[in-house]
């Protein structure tokens, strides 16, 4: 008997808004505990929720990126449960009329192409965080994350292997990051995944007993968990090692095992009902079209355009479309200088270096692309030497916008005055007869030493080709 695994995913992504979903508190990650809180997100009586419109913008954007139907009238509901990280003892979410339904995500694996259906996307608020202090035997609550907006993306049970799950999650992450819906950082918890899994006889149309593993936060752990659970289910069915029950399980990645948390019978009843304090959000055509018009090109469309129209190679194009920030800077720089290959190089090598040095990720590149374009043009026109251009790039990275001004101020503008270069060449050659003799004796390196000395003397401000010619001429004379 052959078996197949059936998987559906619920993916939570924190939305990239400045403020929380129902109050004006900052939604930024990484503050001191309970710095971003107010009476509303602490669940104090008397506060009323006011919907952050930006959350609806991003919810709609997510839906459009995933080919969903957008519900033009969408409502919020309350989900009741007790937990110390949930200060009002309810979460405001969407059950009855979520913002998006019936979408599709296309993935590709070693088995070929496949469409994964999206059941729905709903908007909701995140919960706070419990901080355990084992030493003092205390549990403390941090409400900074409380009411940070999320979308939950619910797939149909269309996935049938860990490889497909990974492909789906990577695709989701790429699309949402591209549309700036979420930064989707697994390590910061801004992307999390619940895995619903069951096993059935191959070809059967009946689903097996389903278990759910909640709050998975890395692709590697998800892969291991799926493999473990699949084996456990098959073992239970074939060898009757245990009776499978519908339950929520916790994946312990260190032990490489899953453990039962709660069964369907002991699970609390969430007692959902429509939130009377939040009026239905009605999305008119103007709003809908504003979001539709703001959607980015899909990454693969961009990549094809970079290759076909701008002549980039596969590697450069692929690298650029991994980050929306790279694409934005690249396109602005290209528009300014018209040099696609150069622009790609500056971003993928020099900007990437600067990001690395500052411990920043590709998504955090936020330089003025037009300034980079101007700089590339200055280099291409041989007005600024490459070494000095790198210095200017660092200035642009720090916020500067006018490379030419920096070049003039720093004296980086390459001199067209060959008499100055000639003077330096004459002096250097006269001062170093040994190198001249070495070069004439066949040592190529000796030429580079002389060349370097001249360059240093000129502070880099000369056309290397001109210098080379003048230097060769002078050596010949010597």
């Amino acid at each position: 008997m052959e078996y197949e695994v059936v998987i559906g995913l619920e993916v939570h992504c924190e939305l990239a808004t400045n403020s929380k979903i129902f109050c004006a508190c900052s939604a930024k990650y990484g503050a001191e505990a309970n710095e971003h809180v107010c009476p509303a997100c602490c669940g104090m009586p008397g506060m009323l929720p006011i919907v952050n419109k930006r959350v609806v913008d991003l919810g709609m954007t997510a839906g459009m990126m995933l080919n969903c139907h957008i519900n033009r009238k969408t409502t919020f509901d309350k989900k009741n449960y007790y937990y110390p990280d949930l200060p009002a003892a309810y979460q405001t979410t969407q059950l009855f009329a979520p913002i998006c339904v019936n979408g599709r995500v296309d993935i590709e694996t070693s088995k070929g192409k496949k469409s994964v259906r999206i059941k729905q996307i709903h908007m909701e608020e995140d919960a706070g965080k419990l901080v355990h202090d084992d030493w003092r035997d205390l549990t403390m609550v941090d409400y900074n994350r409380t009411s940070v907006p999320l979308v939950e993306i619910v797939s149909q049970p269309d996935l049938s292997s860990a490889e497909e799950v990974v492909a789906y999650l990577e695709r989701l992450r790429s699309l949402l990051r591209f549309a700036k819906v979420s930064d989707c950082r697994w390590e910061q918890g801004s992307m999390r995944c619940d895995v619903n899994l069951s096993v059935r006889e191959k070809g059967s149309d009946k689903l097996g007993v389903r278990t759910e593993m909640k709050n998975m936060n890395s692709l590697a752990a998800i892969t291991r968990a799926i493999e473990y659970e699949t084996a456990r289910h098959i073992d239970a069915i074939v060898n009757k090692t245990e009776e499978l029950v519908q339950e929520t399980r916790r994946w312990d990645d260190e032990k490489g095992k899953s453990f039962a948390m709660r069964t369907k019978e002991t699970a609390g009843d969430y007692r959902y009902f429509p939130d009377p304090n939040v009026m239905p959000v009605v999305i008119d055509d103007t709003w809908y079209n504003r979001i539709k018009d703001s959607l980015p090109e899909f990454p693969e469309v961009k990549k094809a355009r970079y290759m076909d129209e701008l002549g980039l190679g596969d590697f450069d194009a692929t690298s650029l479309v991994e980050s929306r920030a790279f694409c934005d800077v690249f396109e602005a720089a290209y528009a300014e200088c018209g040099l696609a290959k150069d622009a790609a190089n500056w971003i993928l090598k020099d900007c990437a270096n600067l990001l690395n040095r500052n411990q920043m990720t590709a998504d955090m590149l936020s330089i003025d692309g037009r300034a980079l374009g101007k700089l590339i043009r200055l280099v291409a026109d041989e007005k600024v030497g490459r070494a000095n251009a790198k210095f200017i790039l660092a200035e642009i990275f720090a916020g500067a916008t006018d490379p030419e001004k920096i070049a003039v101020e720093k004296g980086f503008i390459v001199s067209n005055d060959t008499s100055l270069i000639e003077k330096v060449v004459v002096d250097i050659v006269a001062a170093d007869p040994k190198s001249v003799a070495d070069y004439k004796g066949g040592k190529e390196k000796a030429f580079m030493a002389l060349f370097g000395k001249c360059m240093r003397e000129l502070k880099g401000n000369c056309n290397p080709q001109v210098l080379r010619e003048l230097l060769l001429k002078e050596i010949d004379k010597a």
Binding site: I50, P84, A89, R271, F273, P276
Partner: protein, 371 residues
Amino acid sequence: MTYTTKKEPTFTKDAIALDDMILTKDSPTTAGSKMLEGYTSLFDATVAEKLSEDYEILGKVAVSEFALGMLADSAATALDEKEIKAVVGLDANGAYRRTAALTGKVFVKPTYGTVSRFGLIPVACSGDTVGVMADGADEAKEVLGVIAGHDDKDGTSLPQEVCAAALDAGTIKKIAVVKDFTANLSAEMTAKVDAAIEKAKAQGAEIIEVDGGVLSQAKLAWAILSSAEFCNNVSRYDGVKYGYRAKGCHSIEEIYVRSRSETFGSAVKSAILYGSHVLSTDNYDKMYDKALRVRRLVKAYFDELFTKVDAVLLPACSKTDLSATECVYEESKYTAPASITGLPVVVAAGVQWLGKPLADGALLAFSKQLA
């Protein structure tokens, strides 16, 4: 504590009192519950903010626990004993309307959405309304004029021009008396209703009798909706963040269970249990969702009726000798129709006068004539 005097009146401004459901920064607001003993809000309710500009707020009158009780007698007592113009408080379950009817006070429950709910201890959000109790219609109208208006901090608040329009005077000429609701009253209450009808007639109003239709279902439907919302609203009082925490707990479950068990009274506990019951997966469709449908039918009933009449007379309760221990649910038969629809009501001459949405000013002008 029936009435806490924060300060002596200075008589430079008129004095008013809030009830213990309206949050202020300067003094505790407890909702009459041991759970919130000593709880002081970090912010002022919008109504408190507005009132403090024009009036001296003398203090807070006591309420039954979360205003679920039969009467708001502390408010009536305060009006009688203190030099205050009005008491501003939450009409959650009809207590103010019953009390006004029995004590001869005027109470206005304005159209839902015309007075901000920001800073109100929530009971049943879809019906919670801040109202004004006073000795006469003029005082009630004056104070309502101060607190009515749009508030950006309340998502269900109506636009400013709509709120303002609700205060416009209008005429009440034709009044419906709902038959099913005037039967089965005590003799004294029947006499009150008859006297009110005579007063209306004396002002030239035409009275017609109508069938109650779906109106009798409002009581159960509102009990379902309001208990569900109440259960949800009081879940936040869990002993973790503020309010009472039971001593010597060893687990989070114990904090929850004991903190709540040791503070909430029986009316609150019943409402929590009933609210959880109607929202449970098994009962949602047949109870909660059905109650939402009944609410729409009751609204439709009034919409239709208000094409023919300007006001509807309903008694506020079944008898004049109500006691605090009697069943509030049974008496809510009379108050639930306005609670569930958010329609404006003025209690005057011992009965409720319901108007169409935004007829607050018309009802107040009319009730002034009845005095």
